[in-house]
Each structure stands twice: as C-alpha cells, then as structure tokens.
Amino acid sequence: MDFIIEQILFYFAIIVVLFLPGWFLMMAFFKERTSKLFSPIEKFVISFGLSIISVDFLMILMGRANISLTRWSIILAIILFSIVCWVIKNNFKLLIFNFKTIFNNKIFNNKIKNLKFKNWKTKNLNSRTVLIILILFLTIFIKTVYLKDTIFPTSTDLGHHMYWSKLISQTGELPTYEKLKIIETNTGYTLQTENIADFIIGEHLIFSAINLISGIPFISYFPTLVLFLINIMCLLALFILTLRLFENYKFSHSRLLGKNIAILTLLLAGPLYTLASPQAKFVSGGVVGNLLGNLFIPLALYFYFRAFKNPTTKKSYQFLMTALFITMGLFYTHHLSGLIFLFITIFIITTYIVLILIKNTKYQILNARYYFKLIFSPSIIIFLLLASFYLLLIYTPSYLNTDATGTAIGAPSKSTRIGLTPTQFKYAIGEPILALGIIGLILLFFQTLKKNKSQINKNNKSHTANYLLLATLLGWVLAVSLMTLKPHWLHINIPSGRVANYANFPFIIIASFTIVWLAYSVQNLRTTKTFLPTRIISIFFSLLCLTFLSAGYYDNSQSLIKNSNNQSALKTFHASEYLAKNSEHFSKKSMLLKDHNHIKADTWIKLFFMKDYSYPLSRGFFKRYNDPTKPREMCTLWMIESPSSEKAQQCYQDTQTKFIMINPNPDGIQFKKDENFWKIYSGNEINIFYKK
C-alpha cells in the first residue's frame, strides 16, 4: 500500500514539477496561437523543457527572497506561476472579470476550443503512427531491461549530485557550492573550504522539488527515473527538431520526406543506439548535466530555427524569446553544454554567412536585414536586459564566480583534453552513423546549393529554410567534431571524450537524411536506366540497412553486459548508517576517510552524514596521485596505504580523521598491525577502523 501511495505521489510530483509550469509558460508565450504553431508532440516536449527551466528560476528566486523551499512553498509557487501565465495568456482579462464571468464568457470557451488541438489530425491510425508507437515501445523496453539491473543507486556521479539536491531539501535554501580540501602548509596539513565550479544549480533543483513534493528518499529509484524521462524527452526533442528542419525540404522528385527522416532519427537514436553514451548509460551513470544539455540543445535549436526561418512574422519574436529563455536555462544547468552550445551557435552563424557569400543571393541579404530587426527588437532587448539583471543581481552560476571559465579556455592541459583520434571518434559516434553522416552532409550541401538555383525565384520561404537547415546541421556537426578532434584549434581545454557525446545526435539526423535519400533514390531507379539491375541495387541497399541495424544492436548488446553490484552498495550503506547513527557521540570535527577504489557506491556515503561535500574524505583513483601537471594532496593516500607511517600520522592529526572505511580484502592488513586503531565494524566487504 505504501508503495502505491509513493507511486501516486511520484507521478503527481512529475506532473507538477516537469509539465505544469512549462505548459502554462508556453501558453503565455504563444497565447491563442499555441495550438496552431505546435503539434501535440511538440507541446508535450516543449512544456517539459520549459518546466525544468521555470522551476529552476522559480526556486532560485524563492531562495534569494529567503522563502524556505518546502513541499508547500514549491507547490504554491508553481500554482501562482501557472496562474500568472494563464492571466498573461488571456491578456490580463482574468484580472478584470470575476471568475463566474470568465467561465461563462466567450473568451474562455474559445480557449477551451483551442485546447482541443485544432491541428490534430484525428484520422485513424496510419502506418507512421504505428511505426512511431512501435519505436517508442522498443526504446522504452530496451532501456527498461538495461535499467532493471542498474536502477539501484550506485553510480558515482549521481551520488555527488544527489548530495546537493538533498542539501537543498534539508536546509530549504540554495546551496553554496564549496567543499573542504586538504592543503599542505609549512607546519603540516589543514582543511580549507574552497569553491566548486563543477556543479551548477540547475542540475539539482528539480530533484529537490520532486523529493520535497513526493517525499521519496534520494537513495531510491526516483533520481534515475527522472533522468530516464529526460532522456526520452531528449529523443522527442530530436524528433521534433528533425521534423521542423526538413519540414519544407524537397528531394529532387519534389516529395516532402521530412516525416520519414524524423521517424528514422527516432529509430536510430531510440531503439538502435539506445544504451551507449550519451543515453541509458548516462541515465544509470547519473550524468545529469549532459542529459539535460542534450535535451536543451535540440530544443533551443528548434526555436532558433523557427525564429529565423520566417523572420518577418510576429511569431518569430516569440520563438526567439523562447529560444533565449532555453539558452539561459542551459547556462544555469550545465557549463560544458553551455560552452558547446556557444560554439555550435558561432559555427552555425559562420556557416550561414559563408553560404550567403558563396551564393550571394539578394534574398539572403534581405533576410539579414530582417534578422537584424528581429534581434534588436524592443521585446528581445527587454528580455535580454531582464536576463542580465537575473544573472548579475539575482543569481550567478557558480562557474562564473570561480576560475572555471579560465580553466575551460586555453591550451589543453591534460592528455584527455588534447582531442580524440579519428578512430576513437568513429567509435564514439558509431561507425555507420559517422559514414552516413559525412555522405549526408556532402549530399545536403550540393543539393541545397543546386536546388536554390532553380527555386530561387519561386519560393523565398523554402529557400531560406534550406539554407538555415544546411547551416544548422553543418555548423552543429563542425562545432562538435572540431571540439572533439582538434580542441587546440578552438583554444578550448575540456575533456574531449565528454564533448564527443554531443556529436551523436547531429550525425544521427544527417545519417537519417542519407538513408531516406538513398531509399528514395533506389525507388526512383525503377524508372531510369542504370548500369546495374535495379534488383541488385535494392538488395545492396537492404544489406546496407541490415548492417546498420546490426551495428546498432551490437552497440546495445555491448552495454548490456554488466554485473550488478547492488549487494555491495547495500553493504556500504549499512556501514554508513551505523556510523551516521553513532555520529552523535563524535566530536563535530571528527573526520571520516573512505576508499573510492574498492568500495562500491562510496559517493553516496556523504548522503548519510550531510556534513560537507568532502565528508567523508576520499582516497581517489591511484593514478590521480601521480599527476605531473598538478601536484595533489597525498594525505588521503598515505592514511590508508601506510597508516602507521609518520607522514600518515601527521595527516590523521592535522585533518582530525577519526574513522576509516575500507574494503578489508586489499586494505585491512595494514590497520590490523597498528595499536592506534580499533576495528569497530566488520563485514565481508567493509571494515571500519577508529583512530584513537
């Protein structure tokens, strides 16, 4: 019964936090045009993305206004926000009339009619609908099978993130991103507080909100399920972006195939490459920032594309404002995604300018005037001023307050940041996707330039859309490829492997375009003479598709081979709970040290104590202590490796480390011989020692 109530509360929290505010905000942005401008799937995905950002900004505002973040304050804030959006949507008419008038008048009735989705095609199920449902079923099914063994909270990153979310829930305040660090002094060692640049508030607030509303603990299924939902929404964001990108794109035989390309994109990103990074593996691994970044980047591109596609229309202002709002949300969520998005934008603009220079058409020059007018319109400038006000006076993301921006820009400082080799890049993207992506880009380039020659005088709208489509995809691919392969060219200093995860999606969109183009070209061969019989070409194409499918499933199968370590994690939690229960007896400064190398789910230990991000201190991976580029503190290594040594004893004394949690199999022996330690807890995977 408890489980059922918990589930109801969980779904209630998901709806309130992740759908409601975004839905109303979308209504406020686009007013009565919402149903005309967006299809139901678009509204579904957009309301999700906007909700995350709205809740983040609302909670930040509450925190800054010293309003405690509790279950009821968050629910009330979301309801109030939704009412305000609804009032804006109705042009403030709710403020003038009483409720009875509102519910009886024409305005409300018209809105209700609009809510019945004028744009919905209420035809019977067609083959495309069935195909999409089947793809979504397969995607969710495969991910569920994978997550069944990884849903238990053990991952390192998720443990780190959930500490901050729990801190927000516990204190009801916005966190200060800082931690204790061991510093070597002239006389020994000391613990000092330092700022952390790697965590950004947007990664943590939605988890706190869901925890507060549902009451489900952090060490449970809910963080992973939220990430799972974000991942599914990311796929749908990719789907709607592809739909809009290829909306007016015509192949040489004048057929609109945008829907087919979008469905194929969903197939490739969905069931085929569904487990590897940046998808289900990131969900179970708790890579919160990347997952959110992969949702916001396509969503922002979607709105920018629609804004600049028809810059003369009134709705383009609303599209641009929404795009800027999502971009702002991205920068409040994940700095790496923000930086990558910045480069993507620069590359898209540059590509677009180069394309104009190549063709030098009067329409593009005319459009440039409209673009200028759009960007420097009063509404956009007011929005940007408000955003700057929020950034400077209300809340500045932690990475802007520290030296993080300085460390991300410059010459690569580590071997992991000098760029991937082409072979590594090939495996990161997926061999067939990369190959078809490159072919697709070449095709798209020549098709667009060739097409525009003939269409130039016929349809300026589709002409602009085709240029934007090419610039968006080419710029996106170029930006992430160069950032991954040649970071020093762009003067960036970020882990190349992580950037590679952002390259999958644009390549998947272009690969889908290539496959659809090939399929229709093969189909067209029936009417033209070829050097090979059509049947042979069809068989060849089918084999190509089969190779593609098997490559995707091979990728999935590689990810499925995984040993579950839930039992080991439970033992870690048991030991942590024991110490946490007894912590009332400890002196406030008593420090705990644990080992990251041989203890499972060790990053979750801090959630039992909630004393500091660095409580417990951690012996990190051994290779980290031999970093020639950056001298590391050695105390955490010595205190476990040679606890009786003089230097370790000094570390124990200076850091006031009183408890040591280790795996007895590799590390128990060195403590057993020392009279300074009591063994106070004994399990087959965890021992705890007390330093007298």
């Binding site: 067609n126 449902i133 399920l225 007896h585 009279e675 106070i680 807890y681």
Partner: protein, 115 residues
C-alpha cells in the same frame, strides 16, 4: 500522424516502465546472505557489541579474547533480518580485547586496544 495516440501510448509505456523499475528497485534493498559485527559504541571503552544477521542460519558463537587468551565463549541466536545486542562486562585486565564471532564457518572480529 495521429499524435494523440502517440502521446497516450508513450505515457502508458512510461508509467508501466517506471512502475516496474520502481518495484524492482524497492525489492533490491534487502541484504542477502551476509551478517555484520560491530561495537555498540565505537568510541567509548565498552565492549558491548551487536550481531546483525541477514543469512538463513541463525546460530552464532562468540568469544572474548584478552591479550591472546580466550576468556569467554558463548552461543548466540540471531534470527534472519534481525540483530542482537550482547553486553560484555569488562571483568578482565588486559590491553587488547578481541571479540570473535563464528557463523557458518566464517569468522569475524572487532577489537579495542587500550594503553
């Protein structure tokens, strides 16, 4: 495309998947076939200890060893998914007090060393 059907199907798939995963995760919170031994108070001088049992067998035996000499041995029954506090009076003089527990041919110990 009938998008209404797509969204309804998607929500249905997600609810089924989420409920299954939540139920599955809930069932994984049980420690299996293991047991733990620890001091009741990790910092003071008392020797009271706790045995927590998650295995199918309930029989334990424990002994107190002072400076290498066995001073006391007793049997102990701890039911599955349960724990038992054992009070040990410090009647003996010595430096090293080891509490050794045997269960199903496996030995574990905790100790306190006094100056």
């Amino acid at each position: 495309m009938n998008q209404k059907n797509i969204i309804i199907s998607l929500i249905a798939f997600l609810v089924i998947s989420f409920s299954f995963l939540a139920f599955s995760e809930n069932n994984q919170h049980q420690i299996k076939n293991d047991w733990f031994l620890y001091f009741e108070n990790p910092q003071d001088n008392s020797l009271n200890f706790i045995v927590e049992n998650f295995s199918d067998k309930n029989n334990f035996s424990w002994s107190l060893i002072v400076d290498g000499e066995i001073k006391k041995t007793e049997n102990l029954e701890v039911l599955k998914n349960n724990y038992k506090n054992v009070t040990v009076k410090k009647l003996y003089n010595g430096k090293e007090f080891i509490l050794k527990v045997n269960h199903n041919n496996e030995k574990r110990e905790v100790y306190k060393i006094f100056q």
